[in-house]
C-alpha cells in the first residue's frame, strides 16, 4: 500500500511518550501484540511518525524495519498527521455505485486539497476509506466520528461549513 510520509517536524510531548511507554510495558512480553501497541500509539499521537516507530521498536524488542513494514502494510496506520477534522469518504461498493466518487470530487473542490492530503493550516484532511458497514445509508462520509449518510454532492458545502467556524 502506498503511504504518504509526513515531512512535518515531530512534536510529541513527554505525556504522550509516558502513555505509550505504559502500553509497551503491558505488552512487551508478547511480540504478537505489536499491532495492538501500534494501534494504541496511533490513538495517542494521531499518526505514526518514524520517531514513534523507533520508540515502539525499542520497547517491544523488534527491529524498526519490522514496525515500518507492518505500518505500511495496513490501511489503518497513517504515517502523516490528519487534520483537526478528517473527512473520510466511504468507497465500499454500495457507496460507490451510489455516487461516492462525486462526493470526493466535490470535497476536493470545496476543501482545495486532494485525497490523502491535509490543508496547510492543519484544519481539514481528506481521505477515502474502506466500507464502514453503513451500507444502508450509502453513500456515506464521516467527519471524525460523525457519520453523514444518503448524501449528494450538493450537500457537501453545507457540511464543510459546519466545521469552518
Amino acid at each position: 500500500m502506498v503511504k504518504k510520509i509526513s515531512s512535518n517536524p515531530f512534536n510529541g510531548t513527554p505525556e504522550q511518550a509516558a502513555k505509550l511507554q505504559a502500553v509497551i510495558e503491558e505488552s512487551k512480553h508478547d511480540k504478537s501484540l505489536l499491532m495492538h501497541v501500534m494501534q494504541e500509539a496511533q490513538g495517542i499521537y494521531g499518526y505514526l511518525p518514524i520517531e514513534v516507530q523507533k520508540m515502539i521498536a525499542d520497547g517491544m524488542g523488534v527491529p524498526v524495519e519490522k514496525v515500518y513494514g507492518v505500518s505500511t502494510f495496513y490501511a489503518q496506520f497513517s504515517l502523516s498527521p490528519k487534520g483537526e477534522y478528517n473527512f473520510s469518504v466511504c468507497l465500499g461498493t454500495a457507496c460507490y455505485v451510489k455516487g461516492a466518487q462525486d462526493l470526493i470530487d466535490k470535497l476536493e473542490e470545496v476543501l482545495g486539497i486532494s485525497a490523502k492530503e491535509c490543508t496547510p493550516d492543519g484544519k481539514f484532511s481528506l481521505e477515502d476509506c474502506r466500507c464502514i458497514g453503513a451500507c444502508g445509508l450509502a453513500p456515506v462520509i464521516t467527519v471524525n466520528d460523525e457519520v453523514y449518510g444518503k448524501l449528494e454532492a450538493k450537500d457537501i458545502p453545507g457540511i464543510v461549513a459546519k466545521y469552518q467556524a
Binding site: L34, A94, V97, R130, G133, L137
Partner: protein, 596 residues
C-alpha cells in the same frame, strides 16, 4: 415486570443515523412521565431493514416505527406509551393495514420470505446482557456438548448438517473440524474470522453487534470438538461497536464460568481473546489472518501445510467465519436434520445477504439457500427505485462476479453461482441499474485489489496492475478489440498462478462483466461511447438549441470557462476546454444540457 418493552436498534446503520440520541431522549421522557418502572428501553442489534433506520419496535403490540427522529420521541411516549394510542403516522407504512389495524412484521414483504437462523437474536435481545441470551436458549448447546456428547459426536452432527463455510469458500465445516481434531498437539487454537473485508457486506458485523454470545458459544463448542483451549476473534478495527460488545460478552461469559477453567464442571478449559485487524483485505484469507494475529504483515503462506496441521503459532488451528459459527448452536440444539431441511441438497441452511446499492430496501436479509435472485431483489428488496431498470447484481465483492437480468431466476446456492462464473462470497449483494457502467465497476474492483494485493507473489502484484491499465485503456477510449483479448488472457493467467485466494479471484469481476456485458465493452472500444454515461473520457456535454433560453447560468457556473454565449442567445460548449464536471447539467433549469 414491565408492561411494555421498547426495542431500539443499536446497529451501526441506525447508530449512524442517531439512534443513540433517540434512546437517551426516550429514557429521559419515560423517566419524566414516571413510567420507568413500567417500560423498559432496550438497545438491540440490527433489525435488518437499514434503509428505514433508525428503527424502534414497541412490544407487546409489535409496532414497528421507522425513520424515527429525536423530535418524535415525546409524541411516541405521550400518545403510545402513556395513553395507548399508536402513532400510525410514524409506523413503517407496510405494517399499516388501516387506522385501526396493524400487520405483524413477519407478514411484510421484507420479512415474509426470510428464515432467521444466524440472525435469530439480532434485534430481539439486548446484546450486552448475557441473561437475555441465556433466556433464548443461550449456552444450552454448549452444555449439551460438554455433558452429553463426545467431541466425535459433535463433529458428526456438524458434518451431517452439511454446513459449509459462509465466508465464501464453501468448504464443509465439519470436515475442517475433523482434520484439526485428528492432529495431536500440545496446543491447538480456534480462530474466528471477523475481518469482513468485502466492501458492501456487513452481516458478520451485525451478528457480533447483535448476538456476540452466540459466537463465544460456538467457538467454545469448536474448541471442545477439536481439542483446542484457546480462541482468537480477529475483528476489523473499523467496527468499534462490534468490538466493544464482544468484549463485554467475553467478560460476562468469564464471570458466569462459561469461559475459563472447568466449564460446566466438565474439566474442559477454554478462553477467548480479541485481536484487531488494521484494514487489509488479504487478511480475510485464513493463512494471512493467522500471520497477522502473530503481529506481522498479513501475508499469506503457501498451503499445504494447511492450518489444521500448522496454523496459528505453528499449531493446529480451525478457522471459521462469524456467520458459520453463528449457525453452530442451532445445529447442535436441533440436530443435523433440522438444518438440512432448509436450503438445497448440496447447500444446506440459510445465507445472510447484505442488500445494497440501487435497491429500495437496503439492509440485511437471511434466506434459505435456493431462493432465486428475483425473489430477493423484487419481493424482499422491493426492486430498483426511481423507475430505473435492473442491470446486474454483484455478489462476492472484489472476488466475485455479477448476475445479469437474464439469470435472475437462478436459485442461489454455492454450486449454481459457481456454475455461472460467480461466487457466493461472504454475502454482499449490490444491485446496479442502467446508470452504472459495468466496465467502470470492473475497474473499481480492480482498483481495490491492486491496492490490497500484499505484494508477495508476482502474478497478483504485477498482474493486477497491468490488468487495470488495460481496463483504463477501455474506459479512456484508447482500446482496440485486441485489448479485450489481452485482458481475457491476462485475467486467466493471474487466476491460475497467484499464491492465495486474493489473486486467484481478483480477475473474476473483469471476466464476469466481459462475459455478460461484452456489448458494453465493445461500445467503449468501437463506438467510443459509455452507454451508462459514467466514463468521463468518453462523455461529451452539449447544449440543445431548442431548449436553451440564454439565461447564462451555465456559463457563470462553469469552472473552466468552457461555455460561451450572450444573454437570451443559445450557448455553446467548447469541448476542448470542458472538464466534464457536470456542473452545467445539474444547474440548468431547462434541461437544455445533455451528455452522451
Amino acid at each position: 415486570m414491565y408492561r411494555s418493552h421498547v426495542l431500539v436498534c443499536g446497529g451501526t446503520g441506525c447508530t449512524s443515523s442517531n439512534s443513540g440520541a433517540i434512546i437517551e431522549a426516550l429514557e429521559k421522557e419515560i423517566a419524566d412521565k414516571g413510567l420507568d418502572k413500567e417500560i423498559k428501553v432496550i438497545k438491540t442489534g440490527c433489525f435488518g431493514l437499514c434503509a428505514l433506520g433508525p428503527i424502534m419496535i414497541v412490544y407487546p403490540e409489535g409496532c414497528f416505527y421507522s425513520e424515527v427522529k429525536v423530535e418524535d420521541v415525546p409524541e411516541i411516549v405521550e400518545e403510545h406509551l402513556l395513553k395507548g394510542r399508536i402513532v400510525t403516522r410514524l409506523l413503517y407504512d407496510e405494517t399499516v393495514v388501516s387506522e385501526k389495524e396493524i400487520k405483524s412484521l413477519n407478514e411484510t414483504n421484507f420479512y415474509k420470505k426470510q428464515k432467521r437462523i444466524a440472525l435469530r437474536n439480532c434485534g430481539v435481545i439486548d446484546p450486552e446482557n448475557i441473561e437475555e441470551y441465556i433466556a433464548y436458549d443461550g449456552y444450552q448447546a454448549l452444555a449439551k456438548c460438554l455433558t452429553e456428547m463426545t467431541p466425535e459426536d459433535v463433529i458428526k452432527v456438524v458434518k451431517d448438517s452439511g454446513l459449509r463455510g459462509r465466508g465464501g469458500g464453501g468448504f464443509p465445516t465439519g470436515m475442517k473440524w475433523e482434520f484439526t481434531s485428528k492432529n495431536a498437539a500440545d496446543q491447538k487454537y480456534v480462530v474466528c474470522n471477523a475481518d469482513e473485508g468485502d466492501p458492501g457486506a456487513f452481516m458478520d458485523r451485525s451478528v457480533l453487534e447483535g448476538d456476540p454470545h452466540c459466537i463465544i458459544e460456538a467457538m467454545t463448542i469448536c474448541g471442545y470438538a477439536t481439542g483446542a483451549t484457546e480462541g482468537y476473534v480477529y475483528v476489523r478495527a473499523e467496527y468499534p461497536i462490534a468490538v466493544e460488545r464482544l468484549q463485554i460478552a467475553i467478560d460476562q461469559a468469564r464471570e458466569h464460568g462459561l469461559l475459563g477453567k472447568n466449564i460446566f464442571g466438565s474439566g474442559f478449559d477454554f478462553d477467548l481473546f480479541i485481536r484487531l485487524g488494521a484494514g487489509a483485505f488479504v487478511c480475510g484469507e485464513e493463512t494471512a489472518l493467522m500471520t497477522s494475529i502473530e503481529g506481522n504483515r498479513g501475508e499469506p503462506r503457501p498451503r499445504p501445510p494447511y492450518p489444521a496441521v500448522k496454523g496459528l503459532f505453528a499449531k493446529p488451528t480451525t478457522e471459521n467465519n462469524v456467520e458459520t459459527f453463528a449457525n453452530i448452536p442451532q445445529i447442535i440444539l436441533h440436530g443435523a436434520d433440522f438444518f438440512k431441511s432448509m436450503g438445497t441438497e448440496r447447500s444446506a441452511g440459510t445465507k445472510v445477504f447484505a442488500l445494497g446499492g440501487k435497491i429500495k430496501n437496503t439492509g440485511l436479509v437471511e434466506i434459505p439457500m435456493g431462493t432465486t435472485l428475483r425473489e430477493i431483489i423484487e419481493d424482499i428488496g422491493g426492486g430498483v427505485p426511481n423507475g430505473k431498470k435492473f442491470k446486474a447484481a454483484q455478489t462476492g465483492g472484489p472476488s466475485g462476479g455479477c448476475i445479469p437480468a437474464s439469470l435472475m431466476d437462478t436459485e442461489i446456492d454455492y454450486d449454481n453461482l459457481t456454475a455461472i462464473g460467480c461466487m457466493m462470497g461472504s454475502g454482499g449483494l449490490i444491485v446496479m441499474d442502467e446508470d452504472n457502467c459495468m466496465v467502470d465497476i470492473a475497474k473499481f474492483f480492480l482498483d481495490f485489489t491492486v491496492d490490497e494485493s500484499c505484494g508477495k507473489c508476482a502474478p497478483c502484484r504485477i498482474g493486477t496492475k497491468r490488468l487495470r491499465e488495460l481496463l483504463e485503456k477501455v474506459t479512456d477510449g484508447k482500446a482496440t478489440m485486441e485489448t479485450l483479448d489481452e485482458i481475457e488472457k491476462l485475467a486467466h493467467y493471474i487466476k491460475e498462478n497467484s499464491l492465495c485466494g486474493l489473486g486467484q479471484t481478483a480477475p473474476n469481476p473483469v471476466l464476469a462483466t466481459l462475459k455478460f456485458f461484452k456489448d458494453e465493452y465493445i461500445a467503449h472500444v468501437v463506438d467510443k461511447k459509455c452507454p451508462a454515461g459514467v466514463c468521463k473520457a468518453l462523455l461529451n456535454y452539449s447544449i440543445v438549441a431548442d431548449k436553451c433560453k440564454g439565461c447564462t447560468l451555465c456559463a457563470r457556473k462553469c469552472p473552466v470557462g468552457a461555455i460561451s454565449g450572450s444573454v437570451k442567445e443559445v450557448h455553446t460548449i467548447d469541448t476542448t476546454k470542458c472538464i466534464k464536471c457536470g456542473v452545467c447539467e445539474s444547474n440548468c433549469k431547462f434541461g437544455a444540457i445533455i451528455k452522451g
